[in-house]
């Protein structure tokens, strides 16, 4: 990854134009050709530096729901519990964290009712109590990380 790649990532984290030739427009601000932008963007996706290029939807506007949940997984069963939880397509992220509550995951579902249903299934399959912590208020969401 070089400076041009970093510029591409930083620019495209801020947004992407909705016009007939959006890549041409972005390429001009980056002082590279449209073709170079297309090739580099494809490479950044293929090599996994970028997880996705496209829309970020507003879950609740779309009728969907999100929550943050945690479990206390016994050390000896940790990987097994992670595998069970990760197998749910509703689980968007899952992180080990250093705390008594040691596994933290985000659920995203098409409807609010599916959050409860999915949490219930996770409790049944893991035998663990799931702590459900949906957001009450959002103070800030900034999704930019400088490359």
């Amino acid at each position: 990854m070089d400076d041009i790649d970093r510029n591409i990532i930083n620019t495209l984290q801020a947004g992407f134009p909705i016009c007939p030739s959006p890549y041409q427009q972005v390429a001009e601000t980056l002082n590279i050709s449209e073709q170079e932008l297309l090739v580099r963007l494809q490479t950044l996706l293929e090599t996994g530096v970028l997880s996705r290029f496209g829309p970020l939807f507003h879950a609740e506007h779309m009728g969907g729901a999100l929550t943050l949940a945690a479990v206390q997984a016994p050390e000896q069963d940790f990987d097994k519990m992670a595998a069970i939880i990760n197998a749910f397509p509703e689980v968007a992220h899952n992180y080990a964290r250093k705390h008594k509550l040691n596994m933290w995951f985000v659920l995203a579902t098409e409807t609010p009712a599916q959050i409860e249903q999915t949490l219930h299934k996770i409790e049944q399959q893991t035998g663990l109590h799931v702590y459900n912590m949906p957001k009450i208020h959002e103070y800030f969401v900034g999704l930019k990380l400088e490359a």
């Binding site: 990532i9 495209l12 984290q13 947004g15 992407f16 909705i18 030739s21 959006p22 890549y23 041409q24 297309l38 494809q42 530096v49 970028l50 997880s51 996705r52 290029f53 496209g54 829309p55 970020l56 939807f57 507003h58 879950a59 506007h61 779309m62 009728g63 969907g64 999100l66 929550t67 943050l68 939880i85 990760n86 397509p89 689980v91 968007a92 992220h93 899952n94 992180y95 080990a96 964290r97 250093k98 705390h99 509550l101 933290w104 985000v106 995203a108 579902t109 098409e110 702590y131 949906p134 957001k135 009450i136 208020h137 959002e138 103070y139 800030f140 969401v141 900034g142 999704l143 990380l145």
Partner: protein, 169 residues
């Protein structure tokens, strides 16, 4: 709520925009629409807030952000909005939410995320945060993440889709 053509459009783009010179023309072709119609509908979906933004989602660990810390405070209810807004002013804070406490197991209600290139840097930023927002009197904890098991966009329509991708819902 969402008209059927918008829904088709959402499904068509949710796993990613085509990386070709005329991406919206290509989507239009797939949906038997015109390029102008796709552009107009996307602009409207964005204006109405269904699409928060178009752009790239990074894998933060691949960009060198190895230290991913969830910082949580037990903040009195009367103060939490003020403190949440103060915390959000710092450019190293990526997310900040109010969430329900979970009794004795989890007394914290104010959650924020710091993505940093090293733990030492994150600890410095936390010290700075506590000082500048006058948080010294409130119980807090910092939970680093030694492992990420899964990071991807979530599903919109169960067929194949990916709808949002943000660290913490």
């Amino acid at each position: 709520m969402i008209d059927p053509i918008d829904l088709q459009l959402i499904i068509a783009i949710q796993s990613g925009l085509p990386i070709v010179a005329r991406p919206y023309a290509l989507i239009a072709e797939q949906l038997a629409l015109t390029e102008n119609e796709v552009i107009a509908r996307l602009k409207q979906l964005k204006q109405q807030g269904f699409i928060k933004r178009l752009g790239v989602i990074v894998k933060h660990r691949r960009l060198g952000y190895q230290a991913n810390a969830m910082v949580v405070f037990d903040m009195p209810d009367a103060l939490v909005d003020v403190k949440g807004r103060q915390i959000s002013q710092h450019d190293f804070i990526n997310l900040c939410y109010l969430r329900p406490r979970q009794g004795e197991q989890w007394p914290y209600n104010l959650f924020c995320m710091i993505h940093g290139k090293s733990r030492a840097r994150v600890m410095q930023q936390l010290t700075q945060l506590i000082h500048s927002c006058a948080l010294q009197d409130y119980p807090y904890d910092i939970l680093f993440s030694p492992r990420c098991f899964k990071q991807r966009g979530a599903l919109y329509k169960s067929t194949q889709p990916s709808f949002i991708n943000k660290a913490h819902g």
